[in-house]
Amino acid sequence: MPRVYMDANATTPLLPEVMEAMRPFWMEDFGNASSIHRQGQRARMAVDRARETLARLFNCREAEVVFNSGGTEGDNTALFGLVRPGDHLITTAIEHSAVLRAAERLEDRGAEVTFVPPLANGLIDPGAIRAAIRPHTRLISVMLANNETGVLQPVEEIGKIASEAGAFFHIDAVQGAGKVAFDVRRFGCHLLSISAHKMHGPKGVGGLYVRRGTPLEPLVVGGSHERRQRAGTENVPGIVGLGKAAELAMESIDDGAIEPLAALRDRLEAGILAISGTSVNGACAPRVANTTNIRFEQVEGEALVIALDLKGVAVSGGSACHSGSTEPSHVLMAMGLDKNAARASLRFSLLRTATEADVDHVLRIVPEAVEHLRAIAPVAAGTAG
């Protein structure tokens, strides 16, 4: 049975070039980048090259790039590293849990937090951010692209608001990386976090842009790695993989190779919308090219995810809870969907390498599966648990 993977926003496979770039750094060039000897120097050079690449990706200085373990660490570092008890933090109700849980912990420790809700189309209104500003607002943290709807947030405008208010600005760009062009200067942010595995790089490695002069307290302390911004022996193969993935992502954005992805996504979306009782969550907002979030009326999304998986189509619905089952998406509920509507929604997120054949396959499987589910166990709106 052919398997089609349409859950790129969860994670992506390595591209072969990334795998090849990483290969020497497991066994041959295995040195510790902090060591003086030749092995160490080779590792150091590899890390520095990756840092140059990320500086190009972000449009920043090399010294402003900090390698870490991924998006969650970047988000946690931004929030815990800047916000103190008594400070005010503005973030949104649709952030990744790496930001939301960190914000809640800051709240427990005596910071004030405003969670700005999105508009019904999933966009954060910059005016709502402006209205939330207080004299002691220390940090504004808003994501670049939402992981569940793909909606691109107006970070440039929010950056201007932050600047006027004298607040720091962090962007969780994990879902934007590799999908849209970056420019931290245009964004006006002080901090921006990305993760390698969302853009065909390895898991467990990420990068954080830290604008020079930002008084960011490190989250992980120990050795003097990463200019004392992040202790711990550098994950050299991972960093090399991140660098290569960033390079390939930039190429695909610069030369337009990523553009057909939007057309594929649109064809997939149109094909699914041909099924009755379907609608797109976040339809009327700018979105990244690879994501569509579709509500299937009278369908239990979790059952549809399982049914599709058994037929060879990997998608997701809601957010994974501790046990591995799903909970209704906090993003969709913040957009005004009720629990049942949120549960009835699935996310299709295409890999950069997706093909017409992938879309054809999914469009063969999905309508039948939806029809079957509706026939067997119709979920009446507003009544199911």
Binding site: A307, H372, A377
Partner: protein
């Protein structure tokens, strides 16, 4: 129904359901493992009387999901965790709390079987392309061509008999359910688990109510209502003798169950037991053990299994709690009697040959004809 149709196995992470999955998978069936996520064991943690860290080895603990996933991986079958927390709370936890507040003693396992395991699970199974479900319950179901009905029977291992909790199964549910352990004993099941290389073959059985940490239902009830932002209903009242004489006061009727001896807070030369709980006056009547015996009970919302309906008196043996030895009784239709009997199921009058101790409102009464489950209902 074709023989190679997919079977969904309800996997709890325990030895019974794991062995069911192993047996069915090794027989060559197409098997999908499903674990129902019913209750977040950390949800009430830290509230008064609730342990901080949930113990392992109970329903929905992460350890159990881990065990179930490992078994599925070992057997090479697809496996998914399905979130039914909202439905479980609505159909099992909330009624459990409400029953205690109304002075009754609920049976959450039967509610779970009726509403979740054999209703929602079957729906989920069909949604994902499985026509039948299989569970690790110790019970036998078979189709009787003469009566044209699915029959539920007591299992080979009477010590593990779970038919008391299964009386609510409909014909439709019985027709689409497999109980592969019905003809086995627990030691045999453990041996099969070992043969299949299941590491959890020696895992102890779970005993207590899965969502009540430490079995302390009173703390659970208070913590749950507190979490819901609801005051605990004021049900404090008098402890009285059968004569009406006031013997003392109590702090709430949910602290009591019929037949209870401990925790009455009364000094008496002879042991005193709860005889009756009156939800209207909040009065709890106490008396001697001998006064606990009753001959009659009314069972409501009855589900019939081996018969289509009760049209005339019928001799059965009736079981009035999980650890009760079924006792001879006569069933008679009770026309329009009983509370809560709004359309759902019949009510029957159960008259025992010998008086039975501590007939407890809220428990179920299950009727047996030999090994067969005739049906059962809820004690009014």
């Amino acid at each position: 129904m074709t023989e190679n149709a997919t079977i969904a196995v309800a996997m709890s992470g325990g030895v019974d359901s794991s062995t069911v999955a192993a047996i069915l998978a090794r027989e060559g069936n197409s098997v999908v493992g499903l674990t129902l996520q019913l209750w977040d064991q950390t949800r009430l943690a830290g509230r008064h009387g609730i342990p901080d860290a949930p113990k392992a080895g109970r329903c929905c603990s992460l350890d159990d999901v881990y065990d179930a996933r490992r078994v599925a991986e070992h057997l090479g079958i697809p496996y998914y965790v399905v979130n039914q927390e909202d439905r479980f709370e609505r159909d099992v936890v909330r009624p459990f709390v409400d029953e205690y507040l109304a002075g009754r003693t609920p049976v959450p396992c039967s509610l779970c079987n009726n509403h979740i395991k054999f209703d929602q699970l079957l729906k989920t199974a069909r949604s994902i392309g499985a026509e039948r479900i299989a569970t690790g319950h110790y019970a036998v179901n078979e189709y009787d061509t003469e009566r044209r009905r699915w029959i539920l029977k007591r299992p080979a291992d009477l010590a593990k008999d779970q038919t008391y909790f299964l009386f609510g199964l409909t014909q439709e549910q019985l027709a689409h359910t497999l109980f592969p352990l019905g003809h086995m004993t627990k030691p045999e099941v453990r041996a099969i688990a070992r043969q299949h290389g299941l590491k959890l073959a020696e895992k102890p059985d779970s005993q207590e109510i899965c969502f009540v940490p430490g079995g302390d239902y009173k703390s659970f009830l208070v913590a749950y209502l507190e979490e819901q932002g609801e005051p605990v209903a004021e049900t404090a009242g008098e402890l009285v003798a059968a004569t009406g004489e006031v013997m003392g006061r109590h702090e709430g009727i949910f602290h009591f169950t019929v037949g209870q001896r401990k925790g009455l807070g009364l000094a008496s030369p002879t042991p005193l037991y709860v005889l009756n709980i009156d939800p209207a006056s909040h009065r709890v009547t106490v008396g001697a053990d001998s006064e606990l015996a009753t001959r009659e009970l009314l069972a409501e919302r009855v589900n019939w299994i081996s018969i289509a309906a009760l049209t005339e008196p019928m001799r059965v043996r009736a079981k009035i709690r999980h650890r009760h030895e079924p006792a001879w009784a006569t069933l008679e239709p009770a026309k329009g009697a009983g509370r809560n009997s709004a359309g759902a199921g019949d009510a029957v009058l159960v008259t025992f040959d010998e008086p039975q101790r501590a007939v407890t409102p809220g428990q179920s009464a299950v009727f047996y004809d030999g090994d067969e489950v005739v049906g059962g209902g809820w004690i009014a």
